[in-house]
Protein backbone atom coordinates (compact mmCIF):
# COMPACT_ATOMS: atom_id res chain seq x y z
CA UNK A 1 0.00 0.00 0.00
CA UNK A 2 2.97 2.27 0.62
CA UNK A 3 3.35 3.22 -3.01
CA UNK A 4 -0.32 4.04 -3.19
CA UNK A 5 -0.92 7.66 -3.74
CA UNK A 6 -2.47 9.71 -1.03
CA UNK A 7 -5.14 11.12 -3.33
CA UNK A 8 -6.13 7.66 -4.49
CA UNK A 9 -6.34 6.54 -0.89
CA UNK A 10 -8.49 9.55 -0.08
CA UNK A 11 -10.74 8.83 -3.03
CA UNK A 12 -11.03 5.21 -1.99
CA UNK A 13 -11.77 6.20 1.57
CA UNK A 14 -14.47 8.56 0.37
CA UNK A 15 -16.04 5.85 -1.77
CA UNK A 16 -15.97 3.46 1.13
CA UNK A 17 -17.58 6.00 3.43
CA UNK A 18 -20.30 6.65 0.88
CA UNK A 19 -20.89 2.96 0.31
CA UNK A 20 -21.16 2.40 4.03
CA UNK A 21 -23.50 5.36 4.39
CA UNK A 22 -25.78 4.01 1.71
CA UNK A 23 -26.18 1.04 4.01
CA UNK A 24 -26.77 -1.59 1.39
CA UNK A 25 -23.79 -3.72 2.23
CA UNK A 26 -23.94 -7.13 3.80
CA UNK A 27 -22.33 -7.66 7.17
CA UNK A 28 -19.29 -9.24 5.57
CA UNK A 29 -18.95 -6.49 2.99
CA UNK A 30 -19.46 -3.69 5.43
CA UNK A 31 -16.91 -5.28 7.72
CA UNK A 32 -14.44 -5.52 4.89
CA UNK A 33 -15.25 -1.96 3.82
CA UNK A 34 -14.88 -0.68 7.35
CA UNK A 35 -11.54 -2.42 7.75
CA UNK A 36 -10.31 -1.09 4.45
CA UNK A 37 -11.61 2.34 5.41
CA UNK A 38 -9.77 2.26 8.70
CA UNK A 39 -6.59 1.23 6.95
CA UNK A 40 -6.97 3.99 4.40
CA UNK A 41 -7.72 6.58 7.06
CA UNK A 42 -4.67 5.43 8.96
CA UNK A 43 -2.57 5.47 5.86
CA UNK A 44 -3.73 8.97 4.96
CA UNK A 45 -3.21 10.18 8.49
CA UNK A 46 0.28 8.82 8.53
CA UNK A 47 1.06 10.32 5.16
CA UNK A 48 -0.20 13.66 6.37
CA UNK A 49 1.66 13.34 9.61
CA UNK A 50 4.87 12.56 7.78
CA UNK A 51 4.28 15.48 5.46
CA UNK A 52 3.48 17.73 8.38
CA UNK A 53 6.66 16.67 10.18
CA UNK A 54 8.69 17.28 7.11
CA UNK A 55 7.14 20.71 6.68
CA UNK A 56 7.74 21.55 10.32
CA UNK A 57 11.34 20.42 10.03
CA UNK A 58 12.00 22.43 6.88
CA UNK A 59 10.26 25.46 8.32
CA UNK A 60 12.23 25.21 11.53
CA UNK A 61 15.45 24.87 9.63
CA UNK A 62 14.78 27.94 7.56
CA UNK A 63 13.42 29.96 10.49
CA UNK A 64 16.87 30.12 11.98
CA UNK A 65 18.18 31.95 8.94
CA UNK A 66 15.57 34.66 8.59
CA UNK A 67 13.70 36.30 11.39
CA UNK A 68 15.95 39.35 11.73
CA UNK A 69 14.97 40.95 8.52
CA UNK A 70 11.19 40.89 8.90
CA UNK A 71 11.32 43.21 11.88
CA UNK A 72 13.22 45.90 10.14
CA UNK A 73 11.12 45.43 7.08
CA UNK A 74 7.95 45.78 8.99
CA UNK A 75 9.21 48.93 10.59
CA UNK A 76 9.96 50.37 7.24
CA UNK A 77 6.69 49.37 5.73
CA UNK A 78 4.76 50.87 8.60
CA UNK A 79 6.62 54.16 8.63
CA UNK A 80 5.52 54.77 5.07
Amino acid sequence: MTEKKFELAMKDLENIVENLEEGNLSLEDSMAAFEEGMKLAKFCSQKLEEAEKKVSLLVRESNGKHSKIPFELEDITKSE
Partner: protein, 453 residues
Amino acid sequence: MEEYNQQPDVYSVSQLTNEIRSLLEEQLDFIWLEGEISNFRSPVSGHYYMTLKDQKSQIRAVMFRLQARYLRFVPENGMKVLAQGRVSVYAPRGEYQIKLDYLEPLGSGDLALAFEQLKQKLALKGVFDQDKKQSLPFLPQKVAVITSPTGAAIRDFLKVLYQRFANIEIIVVPVKVQGDNASSEMIEAIELVNRNLEVDVIILTRGGGSLEDLWAFNDEKLALAIRGSFIPVISAVGHEIDITISDMAADVRAPTPSAAAELLVFEKEILIKNLFQLEKRLTATIRSQLNNQAITVEHLSKRLKDPRKDMEDTLLRLDDLHGRLVRTMGNNMSGLRTRLEAGEQRLRVSSPYQTILLSGQHIKLIRKRMIMVMSRLVKDKLHTLTLLEKRAIDLSPLSILSRGYSITRKLPEKKVIRRARDIEKGDRFQILLSKGIIEGRVEKSDSEASFDK
Protein backbone atom coordinates in the same frame (compact mmCIF):
# COMPACT_ATOMS: atom_id res chain seq x y z
CA MET B 1 1.52 42.30 1.39
CA GLU B 2 0.56 39.83 -1.26
CA GLU B 3 -2.39 37.76 -0.41
CA TYR B 4 -2.63 34.09 -1.05
CA ASN B 5 -4.90 33.96 -4.06
CA GLN B 6 -7.35 31.09 -4.18
CA GLN B 7 -9.69 32.38 -6.88
CA PRO B 8 -7.60 34.13 -9.54
CA ASP B 9 -10.49 35.64 -11.42
CA VAL B 10 -11.83 37.64 -8.48
CA TYR B 11 -9.65 40.42 -7.10
CA SER B 12 -9.57 41.28 -3.51
CA VAL B 13 -9.32 44.99 -2.89
CA SER B 14 -5.77 44.50 -1.77
CA GLN B 15 -4.97 42.55 -4.88
CA LEU B 16 -6.42 45.19 -7.12
CA THR B 17 -4.69 47.92 -5.23
CA ASN B 18 -1.47 46.00 -5.51
CA GLU B 19 -2.00 45.61 -9.22
CA ILE B 20 -2.64 49.32 -9.59
CA ARG B 21 0.30 50.10 -7.43
CA SER B 22 2.73 47.98 -9.39
CA LEU B 23 1.38 49.34 -12.66
CA LEU B 24 1.74 52.93 -11.59
CA GLU B 25 4.95 52.51 -9.75
CA GLU B 26 6.62 50.59 -12.51
CA GLN B 27 5.40 52.77 -15.34
CA LEU B 28 5.69 56.14 -13.66
CA ASP B 29 8.95 55.76 -11.85
CA PHE B 30 11.26 58.72 -12.14
CA ILE B 31 9.22 61.23 -14.03
CA TRP B 32 9.57 64.92 -14.51
CA LEU B 33 6.59 67.09 -13.88
CA GLU B 34 5.79 70.77 -14.27
CA GLY B 35 3.07 72.42 -12.33
CA GLU B 36 1.91 75.00 -9.85
CA ILE B 37 2.05 74.42 -6.12
CA SER B 38 -1.13 74.70 -4.12
CA ASN B 39 -2.35 73.47 -0.75
CA PHE B 40 1.19 73.47 0.54
CA ARG B 41 1.66 72.46 4.13
CA SER B 42 4.46 71.15 6.27
CA PRO B 43 3.51 69.47 9.56
CA VAL B 44 5.91 68.79 12.42
CA SER B 45 7.18 65.70 10.68
CA GLY B 46 9.05 67.98 8.32
CA HIS B 47 7.54 66.38 5.24
CA TYR B 48 6.13 68.68 2.55
CA TYR B 49 2.59 68.02 1.36
CA MET B 50 1.20 69.89 -1.64
CA THR B 51 -0.90 69.67 -4.71
CA LEU B 52 0.63 70.22 -8.14
CA LYS B 53 -1.82 71.46 -10.70
CA ASP B 54 -2.28 72.93 -14.11
CA GLN B 55 -5.40 74.27 -15.79
CA LYS B 56 -7.15 70.94 -15.93
CA SER B 57 -5.79 68.57 -13.38
CA GLN B 58 -4.08 68.23 -10.11
CA ILE B 59 -2.10 65.60 -8.30
CA ARG B 60 -1.23 65.22 -4.67
CA ALA B 61 2.46 65.30 -3.96
CA VAL B 62 4.64 64.65 -0.98
CA MET B 63 8.30 65.36 -0.39
CA PHE B 64 9.74 63.57 2.61
CA ARG B 65 11.85 65.39 5.11
CA LEU B 66 14.95 63.56 3.90
CA GLN B 67 14.63 65.17 0.47
CA ALA B 68 12.94 68.32 1.58
CA ARG B 69 15.81 69.38 3.75
CA TYR B 70 18.06 69.63 0.71
CA LEU B 71 15.79 72.14 -0.97
CA ARG B 72 17.37 75.52 -1.05
CA PHE B 73 14.04 77.21 -1.10
CA VAL B 74 10.75 76.81 0.70
CA PRO B 75 7.93 76.05 -1.69
CA GLU B 76 5.01 78.43 -1.75
CA ASN B 77 1.51 78.19 -3.10
CA GLY B 78 1.34 79.56 -6.64
CA MET B 79 5.03 78.85 -7.31
CA LYS B 80 5.61 77.24 -10.69
CA VAL B 81 8.03 74.36 -10.28
CA LEU B 82 9.81 71.61 -12.12
CA ALA B 83 9.50 68.45 -10.06
CA GLN B 84 11.01 65.04 -10.33
CA GLY B 85 9.62 62.00 -8.55
CA ARG B 86 7.76 58.73 -8.77
CA VAL B 87 4.13 57.97 -8.61
CA SER B 88 3.14 55.86 -5.69
CA VAL B 89 -0.03 54.39 -4.41
CA TYR B 90 -1.00 54.56 -0.76
CA ALA B 91 -2.80 51.31 -0.40
CA PRO B 92 -4.67 51.91 2.86
CA ARG B 93 -6.62 54.73 1.30
CA GLY B 94 -6.42 53.72 -2.35
CA GLU B 95 -4.93 57.04 -3.27
CA TYR B 96 -2.14 57.80 -5.60
CA GLN B 97 0.28 60.59 -5.26
CA ILE B 98 3.69 61.57 -6.42
CA LYS B 99 6.65 61.26 -4.12
CA LEU B 100 8.92 64.09 -4.99
CA ASP B 101 12.67 63.66 -5.06
CA TYR B 102 13.48 66.99 -6.57
CA LEU B 103 11.84 70.32 -6.94
CA GLU B 104 13.13 73.47 -8.53
CA PRO B 105 11.57 76.80 -9.34
CA LEU B 106 11.20 77.47 -13.01
CA GLY B 107 13.80 79.89 -14.41
CA SER B 108 17.56 80.00 -13.41
CA GLY B 109 21.07 81.55 -14.27
CA ASP B 110 24.07 81.26 -16.76
CA LEU B 111 25.49 77.99 -15.66
CA ALA B 112 22.06 76.75 -15.88
CA LEU B 113 21.96 77.85 -19.47
CA ALA B 114 25.26 76.10 -20.27
CA PHE B 115 23.92 73.14 -18.53
CA GLU B 116 20.83 73.29 -20.60
CA GLN B 117 22.87 73.47 -23.77
CA LEU B 118 24.97 70.44 -22.87
CA LYS B 119 21.88 68.65 -21.82
CA GLN B 120 20.32 69.46 -25.14
CA LYS B 121 23.36 68.25 -27.03
CA LEU B 122 23.66 65.01 -25.13
CA ALA B 123 19.99 64.47 -25.31
CA LEU B 124 20.18 64.75 -29.04
CA LYS B 125 23.01 62.24 -29.03
CA GLY B 126 20.68 59.97 -27.15
CA VAL B 127 22.89 59.76 -24.16
CA PHE B 128 19.92 60.19 -21.87
CA ASP B 129 17.69 57.80 -23.76
CA GLN B 130 15.75 55.62 -21.39
CA ASP B 131 16.19 52.56 -23.54
CA LYS B 132 19.92 52.81 -23.19
CA LYS B 133 19.76 52.76 -19.47
CA GLN B 134 20.66 49.53 -17.77
CA SER B 135 18.56 48.29 -14.99
CA LEU B 136 20.11 47.83 -11.62
CA PRO B 137 21.44 44.36 -10.94
CA PHE B 138 19.00 41.98 -9.40
CA LEU B 139 21.08 41.42 -6.36
CA PRO B 140 23.64 44.19 -5.80
CA GLN B 141 26.16 42.63 -3.48
CA LYS B 142 29.38 44.29 -4.39
CA VAL B 143 29.54 48.01 -5.12
CA ALA B 144 32.25 50.37 -6.27
CA VAL B 145 31.79 53.88 -4.96
CA ILE B 146 33.65 56.47 -6.99
CA THR B 147 34.00 59.48 -4.78
CA SER B 148 36.27 61.41 -2.55
CA PRO B 149 37.20 59.21 0.39
CA THR B 150 37.13 62.18 2.65
CA GLY B 151 33.99 63.83 1.45
CA ALA B 152 30.57 64.03 3.01
CA ALA B 153 29.16 61.80 0.31
CA ILE B 154 30.99 58.61 1.32
CA ARG B 155 30.19 59.36 4.93
CA ASP B 156 26.46 59.75 4.27
CA PHE B 157 26.51 56.73 2.02
CA LEU B 158 28.17 54.42 4.53
CA LYS B 159 26.08 55.75 7.35
CA VAL B 160 22.95 54.54 5.65
CA LEU B 161 24.52 51.15 5.02
CA TYR B 162 25.53 50.82 8.64
CA GLN B 163 22.15 51.85 9.82
CA ARG B 164 20.44 49.29 7.66
CA PHE B 165 22.77 46.41 8.46
CA ALA B 166 23.06 45.70 4.76
CA ASN B 167 25.88 43.32 4.02
CA ILE B 168 27.06 44.84 0.81
CA GLU B 169 30.71 44.93 -0.01
CA ILE B 170 31.89 48.43 -0.73
CA ILE B 171 35.04 49.34 -2.60
CA VAL B 172 35.78 52.99 -2.42
CA VAL B 173 37.52 54.24 -5.53
CA PRO B 174 39.09 57.54 -4.55
CA VAL B 175 38.77 60.44 -7.01
CA LYS B 176 38.73 64.17 -6.95
CA VAL B 177 35.12 65.31 -7.24
CA GLN B 178 35.79 68.96 -7.72
CA GLY B 179 38.16 71.11 -9.64
CA ASP B 180 40.56 70.36 -12.43
CA ASN B 181 40.98 66.73 -13.48
CA ALA B 182 38.07 65.73 -11.39
CA SER B 183 36.15 64.71 -14.49
CA SER B 184 39.01 62.79 -16.01
CA GLU B 185 39.74 61.02 -12.71
CA MET B 186 36.18 59.98 -12.54
CA ILE B 187 36.25 58.79 -16.14
CA GLU B 188 39.38 56.82 -15.39
CA ALA B 189 37.85 55.35 -12.28
CA ILE B 190 34.82 54.22 -14.23
CA GLU B 191 37.03 52.55 -16.77
CA LEU B 192 39.19 51.02 -14.03
CA VAL B 193 36.26 49.56 -12.27
CA ASN B 194 34.86 48.20 -15.50
CA ARG B 195 38.20 46.65 -16.23
CA ASN B 196 39.38 45.34 -12.90
CA LEU B 197 36.65 45.06 -10.33
CA GLU B 198 33.89 42.54 -10.28
CA VAL B 199 31.22 44.72 -8.87
CA ASP B 200 27.50 44.72 -9.45
CA VAL B 201 27.10 48.45 -9.60
CA ILE B 202 29.08 51.68 -9.69
CA ILE B 203 28.05 54.64 -7.66
CA LEU B 204 29.35 58.03 -8.69
CA THR B 205 28.74 60.47 -5.94
CA ARG B 206 29.59 63.62 -4.12
CA GLY B 207 27.92 65.78 -1.55
CA GLY B 208 26.10 69.00 -2.09
CA GLY B 209 27.74 72.18 -3.19
CA SER B 210 27.34 75.16 -5.39
CA LEU B 211 26.61 74.78 -9.02
CA GLU B 212 30.28 75.49 -9.61
CA ASP B 213 31.35 72.87 -7.12
CA LEU B 214 29.33 70.29 -8.93
CA TRP B 215 30.44 71.34 -12.39
CA ALA B 216 32.82 68.44 -12.82
CA PHE B 217 29.80 66.28 -13.20
CA ASN B 218 28.45 68.29 -16.04
CA ASP B 219 31.09 66.95 -18.34
CA GLU B 220 30.38 65.55 -21.73
CA LYS B 221 33.14 62.94 -21.63
CA LEU B 222 32.09 61.81 -18.19
CA ALA B 223 28.56 61.46 -19.45
CA LEU B 224 29.82 59.33 -22.31
CA ALA B 225 31.99 57.26 -19.95
CA ILE B 226 29.01 56.66 -17.76
CA ARG B 227 26.98 55.67 -20.75
CA GLY B 228 29.76 53.40 -21.87
CA SER B 229 30.07 51.57 -18.59
CA PHE B 230 29.10 47.93 -18.73
CA ILE B 231 28.45 48.01 -15.04
CA PRO B 232 25.30 49.92 -14.19
CA VAL B 233 26.02 53.34 -12.81
CA ILE B 234 24.11 55.19 -10.16
CA SER B 235 24.76 58.88 -10.09
CA ALA B 236 24.16 60.72 -6.83
CA VAL B 237 25.44 64.23 -6.94
CA GLY B 238 24.70 67.04 -4.54
CA HIS B 239 21.26 67.51 -3.16
CA GLU B 240 17.92 66.69 -4.64
CA ILE B 241 17.67 69.91 -6.49
CA ASP B 242 21.06 69.50 -8.03
CA ILE B 243 20.70 67.85 -11.37
CA THR B 244 23.90 67.16 -13.24
CA ILE B 245 24.58 65.77 -16.66
CA SER B 246 26.08 62.67 -15.08
CA ASP B 247 22.86 62.21 -13.17
CA MET B 248 21.01 62.24 -16.42
CA ALA B 249 23.48 60.01 -18.18
CA ALA B 250 23.61 57.48 -15.38
CA ASP B 251 21.46 54.38 -15.48
CA VAL B 252 19.91 55.44 -12.23
CA ARG B 253 19.94 58.80 -10.58
CA ALA B 254 19.90 59.06 -6.85
CA PRO B 255 19.15 62.48 -5.45
CA THR B 256 21.78 62.21 -2.74
CA PRO B 257 24.55 59.84 -1.65
CA SER B 258 22.32 58.63 1.14
CA ALA B 259 19.56 58.01 -1.34
CA ALA B 260 21.97 55.98 -3.44
CA ALA B 261 22.78 53.85 -0.46
CA GLU B 262 19.12 53.52 0.33
CA LEU B 263 18.45 52.49 -3.22
CA LEU B 264 20.93 49.67 -2.89
CA VAL B 265 19.69 48.65 0.48
CA PHE B 266 16.16 48.96 -0.71
CA GLU B 267 16.78 46.66 -3.66
CA LYS B 268 18.20 44.06 -1.39
CA GLU B 269 15.57 44.52 1.24
CA ILE B 270 12.90 44.15 -1.40
CA LEU B 271 14.49 40.89 -2.40
CA ILE B 272 14.64 39.68 1.16
CA LYS B 273 11.12 40.77 1.65
CA ASN B 274 10.01 39.02 -1.51
CA LEU B 275 11.89 35.94 -0.52
CA PHE B 276 10.36 36.04 2.90
CA GLN B 277 6.92 36.53 1.42
CA LEU B 278 7.44 33.68 -0.99
CA GLU B 279 8.59 31.43 1.78
CA LYS B 280 5.69 32.47 3.90
CA ARG B 281 3.26 31.77 1.09
CA LEU B 282 4.99 28.49 0.42
CA THR B 283 4.69 27.41 4.02
CA ALA B 284 1.21 28.78 4.47
CA THR B 285 0.01 27.06 1.34
CA ILE B 286 1.47 23.68 2.14
CA ARG B 287 0.19 23.94 5.67
CA SER B 288 -3.26 24.91 4.64
CA GLN B 289 -3.24 22.11 2.13
CA LEU B 290 -2.10 19.61 4.75
CA ASN B 291 -4.55 21.04 7.21
CA ASN B 292 -7.41 20.79 4.74
CA GLN B 293 -6.45 17.24 3.93
CA ALA B 294 -6.17 16.41 7.60
CA ILE B 295 -9.60 17.89 8.18
CA THR B 296 -10.92 15.89 5.25
CA VAL B 297 -9.32 12.73 6.58
CA GLU B 298 -10.72 13.40 10.00
CA HIS B 299 -14.11 14.14 8.56
CA LEU B 300 -14.04 10.98 6.50
CA SER B 301 -12.81 9.03 9.49
CA LYS B 302 -15.75 10.35 11.48
CA ARG B 303 -18.11 9.49 8.67
CA LEU B 304 -16.56 6.04 8.47
CA LYS B 305 -19.56 4.66 10.23
CA ASP B 306 -18.88 2.23 12.97
CA PRO B 307 -20.68 -0.90 11.76
CA ARG B 308 -21.39 -1.82 15.34
CA LYS B 309 -24.41 0.50 15.36
CA ASP B 310 -25.98 -1.65 12.66
CA MET B 311 -24.81 -4.72 14.42
CA GLU B 312 -26.71 -3.75 17.53
CA ASP B 313 -29.94 -3.73 15.55
CA THR B 314 -29.01 -7.02 13.97
CA LEU B 315 -28.20 -8.41 17.36
CA LEU B 316 -31.57 -7.31 18.70
CA ARG B 317 -33.22 -8.91 15.69
CA LEU B 318 -31.21 -12.07 16.22
CA ASP B 319 -32.13 -12.18 19.90
CA ASP B 320 -35.76 -11.65 18.98
CA LEU B 321 -35.63 -14.48 16.47
CA HIS B 322 -33.83 -16.70 18.94
CA GLY B 323 -36.39 -15.88 21.61
CA ARG B 324 -39.29 -16.49 19.25
CA LEU B 325 -37.70 -19.74 18.11
CA VAL B 326 -37.34 -21.03 21.65
CA ARG B 327 -40.75 -19.72 22.74
CA THR B 328 -42.56 -21.13 19.75
CA MET B 329 -40.86 -24.46 20.12
CA GLY B 330 -41.72 -24.47 23.81
CA ASN B 331 -45.32 -23.55 23.05
CA ASN B 332 -45.56 -26.16 20.33
CA MET B 333 -44.12 -28.78 22.63
CA SER B 334 -46.37 -27.90 25.52
CA GLY B 335 -49.31 -27.84 23.11
CA LEU B 336 -48.47 -31.32 22.00
CA ARG B 337 -47.93 -32.33 25.59
CA THR B 338 -51.34 -30.99 26.56
CA ARG B 339 -52.99 -32.72 23.65
CA LEU B 340 -51.24 -35.96 24.47
CA GLU B 341 -52.15 -35.76 28.12
CA ALA B 342 -55.77 -35.01 27.27
CA GLY B 343 -55.84 -38.04 25.00
CA GLU B 344 -54.23 -40.14 27.64
CA GLN B 345 -56.62 -38.92 30.29
CA ARG B 346 -59.59 -39.73 28.08
CA LEU B 347 -58.06 -43.14 27.36
CA ARG B 348 -57.83 -43.89 31.04
CA VAL B 349 -61.31 -42.68 31.70
CA SER B 350 -62.64 -44.85 28.89
CA SER B 351 -60.60 -47.85 29.94
CA PRO B 352 -62.45 -51.22 30.11
CA TYR B 353 -62.62 -50.98 33.92
CA GLN B 354 -66.23 -50.03 33.81
CA THR B 355 -67.07 -52.93 31.55
CA ILE B 356 -65.07 -55.20 33.77
CA LEU B 357 -66.74 -53.89 36.87
CA LEU B 358 -70.26 -54.14 35.45
CA SER B 359 -69.59 -57.53 33.92
CA GLY B 360 -68.19 -58.74 37.22
CA GLN B 361 -71.31 -57.63 39.06
CA HIS B 362 -73.49 -59.15 36.38
CA ILE B 363 -71.74 -62.47 36.66
CA LYS B 364 -72.08 -62.40 40.40
CA LEU B 365 -75.76 -61.77 40.10
CA ILE B 366 -76.33 -64.47 37.53
CA ARG B 367 -74.39 -66.92 39.62
CA LYS B 368 -76.43 -66.07 42.62
CA ARG B 369 -79.63 -66.58 40.66
CA MET B 370 -78.33 -69.88 39.33
CA ILE B 371 -77.41 -71.16 42.77
CA MET B 372 -80.75 -70.07 44.14
CA VAL B 373 -82.67 -71.74 41.35
CA MET B 374 -80.69 -74.92 41.74
CA SER B 375 -81.06 -75.08 45.49
CA ARG B 376 -84.79 -74.46 45.23
CA LEU B 377 -85.08 -77.12 42.60
CA VAL B 378 -83.42 -79.70 44.80
CA LYS B 379 -85.47 -78.59 47.79
CA ASP B 380 -88.76 -78.84 45.90
CA LYS B 381 -87.95 -82.30 44.69
CA LEU B 382 -87.05 -83.37 48.14
CA HIS B 383 -90.32 -81.98 49.45
CA THR B 384 -92.32 -83.86 46.83
CA LEU B 385 -90.40 -87.00 47.63
CA THR B 386 -91.01 -86.64 51.32
CA LEU B 387 -94.76 -86.22 50.80
CA LEU B 388 -94.91 -89.29 48.60
CA GLU B 389 -92.92 -91.26 51.07
CA LYS B 390 -95.26 -90.19 53.87
CA ARG B 391 -98.34 -91.18 51.89
CA ALA B 392 -96.75 -94.53 51.11
CA ILE B 393 -95.92 -95.11 54.65
CA ASP B 394 -99.45 -94.17 55.73
CA LEU B 395 -100.93 -96.79 53.36
CA SER B 396 -98.49 -99.41 54.29
CA PRO B 397 -100.04 -102.82 55.24
CA LEU B 398 -97.84 -102.72 58.17
CA SER B 399 -99.83 -99.96 59.71
CA ILE B 400 -102.34 -102.43 61.34
CA LEU B 401 -99.51 -103.94 63.33
CA SER B 402 -99.57 -100.91 65.59
CA ARG B 403 -102.89 -102.10 66.85
CA GLY B 404 -101.28 -105.28 68.14
CA TYR B 405 -101.57 -107.30 64.95
CA SER B 406 -98.71 -109.05 63.53
CA ILE B 407 -97.98 -110.85 60.38
CA THR B 408 -96.39 -114.23 60.32
CA ARG B 409 -94.48 -115.30 57.32
CA LYS B 410 -93.00 -118.66 56.55
CA LEU B 411 -89.38 -118.59 55.94
CA PRO B 412 -87.64 -118.42 53.77
CA GLU B 413 -90.47 -117.90 51.29
CA LYS B 414 -91.82 -115.09 53.43
CA LYS B 415 -95.30 -116.34 52.47
CA VAL B 416 -97.93 -114.98 54.73
CA ILE B 417 -99.35 -117.70 56.83
CA ARG B 418 -103.07 -117.38 56.95
CA ARG B 419 -103.87 -120.99 58.15
CA ALA B 420 -102.01 -123.28 60.48
CA ARG B 421 -101.81 -125.95 57.87
CA ASP B 422 -99.80 -123.56 55.89
CA ILE B 423 -96.94 -124.46 58.16
CA GLU B 424 -95.68 -127.55 59.78
CA LYS B 425 -93.62 -128.38 62.91
CA GLY B 426 -90.05 -127.34 62.55
CA ASP B 427 -90.69 -124.82 59.88
CA ARG B 428 -89.04 -121.48 60.41
CA PHE B 429 -91.17 -118.41 60.51
CA GLN B 430 -90.97 -114.71 61.19
CA ILE B 431 -93.39 -112.40 62.92
CA LEU B 432 -93.62 -108.83 61.86
CA LEU B 433 -94.60 -106.63 64.78
CA SER B 434 -95.44 -103.01 64.99
CA LYS B 435 -92.07 -102.63 66.30
CA GLY B 436 -89.46 -105.19 65.45
CA ILE B 437 -89.44 -108.69 64.00
CA ILE B 438 -89.45 -112.00 65.78
CA GLU B 439 -88.19 -115.21 64.26
CA GLY B 440 -88.81 -118.74 65.54
CA ARG B 441 -89.56 -122.46 64.73
CA VAL B 442 -92.97 -124.12 64.79
CA GLU B 443 -93.34 -126.44 67.75
CA LYS B 444 -96.92 -127.47 67.19
CA SER B 445 -99.40 -126.81 64.47
CA ASP B 446 -103.12 -127.36 65.07
CA SER B 447 -105.15 -126.61 62.15
CA GLU B 448 -108.44 -127.32 64.04
CA ALA B 449 -107.84 -125.08 67.02
CA SER B 450 -109.61 -121.87 66.98
CA PHE B 451 -109.45 -118.63 68.71
CA ASP B 452 -112.58 -119.09 70.56
CA LYS B 453 -111.41 -122.24 72.25
